[in-house]
Symmetry: C2
Subunit: 137 residues, 2 copies
């Protein structure tokens, strides 16, 4: 489906700016960008787009569950597509962020059991409604 169709489907007004943001991620699936990096990319084809507009578009697309943002070590959070549920792997050396399928174990071990990536840390963060809040309401 086109970016325009997806926006319409989610009840978002179709503007060139939102389309450009969504198209970037649709055409660069698996890529992750900071807000500023995305702004730079989009500016090449759309020089007048404002930085603030990129932030607003990202926010709108996250609300519509089309994009996700991943907190990064520094230099701004990363944004990426959220078509299917997945986990993330960040390389300590190059800082690249990889999407992993929910069953990520095979990606980290070769069939013979040799490691093909060294995992230093696994952060698991759950969000929802806790027991005490659920009892009140």
């Amino acid at each position: 489906m086109t970016a325009e169709g997806i926006l319409r489907e989610r009840g978002l007004r179709v503007t060139p700016q939102r389309r450009a943001v969504l198209q970037y991620f649709l055409f660069n699936e698996g890529d992750h960008q900071t807000a500023d990096g995305l702004w730079n990319h989009i500016q090449q084809a759309f020089p007048e787009i404002a930085r603030g507009t990129v932030y607003k578009a990202l926010h709108d697309l996250i609300d519509a569950r089309l994009l996700e943002h991943i907190p990064a070590e520094s230099g701004g959070d990363l944004y990426g597509l959220r078509l299917t549920p997945h986990h993330h792997f960040i390389c300590d050396q190059c800082g690249h962020l990889y999407d992993l399928s929910p069953s990520y174990q095979p990606l980290l071990e070769a069939p013979n059991g040799d490691p093909i990536a060294v995992v230093r840390e696994i952060d698991v963060l759950l969000r929802g409604v806790c027991r005490s809040c659920a009892q009140i309401h």
Copy 2:
């Protein structure tokens, strides 16, 4: 072990400020604070401590693997003890952050299978060195 002993063990100079930061978390195990919230708490017994010093102490203690910082939705990251590996649960309603043991499933389901917390989202983030970086070095 005392805060002083832990600091010394990790090769950090023992200053009243570092001791105060570490002691806060040792005496409030399971609590998580923003840098600013922690600063306010410590100020009660240590009025002259500077906000910047709290940030530096937090950074030092994280480098020493004594503390961890968890990216929060807004209002600043949260800091907490890192004595043992654990996961996290954030309540959407009250924003409270709970530490979970690595086997968190029992905490989220009663023995009869009834849910005792509604989990909306699970973020799994791995960090380490990826395949291509490992090949270069």
